[in-house]
């Protein structure tokens, strides 16, 4: 019996030896988790994405001497140090190094006066790039449309491409849902295509990715994809009309979120702009409330949609929402946001749509009421 007991003890010993939880490794992440600036200068909460911090400020702010303070992932360090005085007339770069020292991330920190450009020709793109610190190789993933504002700052158009990248990181930029195309109405244009995300997409219950393009940022939220899109940028005018050109072709097989074909349904696109008041609890709109939020004061939404392979002009007026009014003082103080939103599948945020649905958009312009003198 002794031997048996010894053997059992030995076995238990071996098991526990193999199953010891080891000491926690130092953090490998390098995020800016929050940002604080001189009080009273911001007109919005700091917008922090994975590689950029955007600070919308009052027009009177002196950008030559600003000292933003950052908090970073536990144990990580930031260089230059948090609180360093720098000249932000051009965007500044910060490097965050992880606690374990193995990973570095570069952040662009930009102060913006919100002199939003109102003509969009979709000629300018840059790539979403990633440099692997281990191999020092830079990989280009997808197109990001951007416009350079009157004051020299820039605005990046948001898209859901970062979500598509999860499952299709090896796709060429032109195979992403949102990309630039050569055959615009004038020069180049934006091309939005509803794409299949393949077997891996189905694994995450996200079988399709609609092409979309909007004012705002994108942060993948798997439990509610519609919440991934954060719509809106500050706008200090009262918008009146959205004008531009489009072409559209619906994909053949309409499928639902379970990737089942819905025979009787035909896909359609969406194109609209919303003007809304920013309040403490509503800093931005997302895919769940971009047409329904109580903060919206006016909406311009395309009505006469059709499939067409020739460039077709649209001119959509902003309509005031019921019982809403615009407060001029708030407009001047930058209390309103505008978001232009377009998608190749109208229900794409819920993964309903037809793979292949394609929307081209070009030469878009946002009109607004001239300043009252």
């Amino acid at each position: 019996m002794k031997i048996k007991i010894t053997m059992i003890l030995l076995t238990i010993g071996v098991f526990s030896l193999g199953s010891c939880i080891r000491d926690e490794a130092p953090n490998s992440e390098a995020d800016i988790t929050s940002c604080r600036v001189t009080s009273g200068i911001l007109i919005r909460e700091a917008v922090i994405t994975n590689e950029k911090v955007t600070l919308y400020v009052n027009d009177s702010v002196d950008l030559t001497r600003q000292k933003p303070e950052f908090t970073v992932t536990e144990g990580a360090t930031i260089s230059p140090a948090s609180g360093t005085i720098r000249n932000f007339t051009t965007p500044q770069t910060y490097i965050v190094t992880s606690q374990d020292g193995k990973w570095k991330k570069s952040y662009t920190v930009e102060y913006v006066f919100s002199n939003l450009l109102t003509k969009y020709d979709f000629e300018k793109i840059k790539y979403y790039e990633y440099t692997n610190p281990e191999t020092n190789k830079t990989i280009q993933f997808f197109h990001i449309f951007y416009d350079t504002e009157i004051d020299g700052s820039s605005m990046d158009w948001g898209s859901g491409n970062a979500g598509f990248m999860i499952t299709s990181s090896s796709s060429p930029a032109k195979d992403y849902p949102t990309c630039q195309d050569d055959n615009g109405f004038k020069g180049k244009c934006a091309k939005l295509t509803t794409r299949s995300t393949g077997k891996l997409g189905a694994m995450f219950n996200a079988p399709i990715a609609a092409g979309n393009l909007f004012f705002g940022t994108f942060e993948v939220n798997m439990d509610n994809m519609a919440k991934s899109t954060h719509f809106g940028v500050p706008f200090k005018h009262v918008p009146t009309e959205l004008v531009g050109y489009y072409k559209y072709k619906a994909g053949e097989n309409y499928t639902n979120a379970k990737n089942e074909e819905v025979a009787e349904k035909k896909d359609n696109f969406d194109l609209y702009a919303v003007f809304y008041e920013v309040t403490d609890d509503v800093q931005y709109l997302d895919g769940t409330n971009s047409l329904t939020s109580d903060n919206i004061v006016s909406i311009a939404r395309i009505k006469d949609k059709k499939e067409t392979d020739t460039w077709t002009r649209f001119a959509i007026p902003f309509n005031m929402c019921e019982s809403k009014s615009i407060d001029q003082a708030k407009v001047k103080a930058g209390k309103y946001n505008i978001a232009i939103i377009m998608s190749s599948s109208i229900d794409g945020a819920k993964f309903n749509g037809a793979v292949g649905s394609t929307l081209y958009v070009d030469e878009m312009q946002l009109f607004y009421k001239p300043e009252e003198k």
């Binding site: 031997i3 048996k4 990248m165 999860i166 499952t167």
Partner: protein, 258 residues
Amino acid sequence: MKNIILLILGILVPFVSAIGQNESSQTLINAEKNGWEYEMKFGINIGGASPIPLPESIRSIESYNPKFNGMIEGNATRWIGDSKKWGISAGIRIESKGMHAGATVKSYSTEVVDDGSKVSGYWTGYVNTKYNSILMTVPIMANYKLNDRWNLRAGIYMSYMLDGDFSGYVSDGYLRQGTPTGQKILFTNGKQGTYNFSDDLRHIQTGIQIGASWLAYKHFRLNGDLEWGLNDIFEKNFKTVSFNMYPIYLNIGFGYKF
């Protein structure tokens, strides 16, 4: 599963019919005189497939269920020499090895490849794993008779996986795409990402086995065997699970010595 039951029956039936026939019993007695011994063993496997040691990225084991893993084995031992102290045995067994485990991980590197597309990155959060395999195993053991009641043995085994399942889900956490500084993809409010790597399980497994038997009553023995797998449960070219997982099981059961 049906096939496996048939297989087990296929192995059992000749044994059972051997017991049932006097003529065969006589054969068994003669065989024993010549140093042969036959045994039917039944038992359960308790253990799991585990990386050794646990990688730093595993922060806690939230739940563990060894499941009921049955085992049935027929084996023959040839005792050598006059003293018949030493013997060599070979057998064939059908067994299942499985587990159901939940763990939290931090910055766990993973890469899921499928049809040329892939998801790679670092996962922080909860991982639920269900592992189950049905194996046909051939153990070859050296046996030592300590006394009338106690036998000790050690040897090697080779298994062929007849059926295998390795699947589960991740939830309550986030994936950093590509590297720990990549885009953060949140999985909250019960949102799950499922996985199934059953097709990547290795079919041929080898391992070492040590064990002991205690003769409890006439023909009945109590058996305990530790089966320690020497191969990762996955194919060599499978990189999604970044560490090797070894099947380590303690088999406890009884045997009928003919």
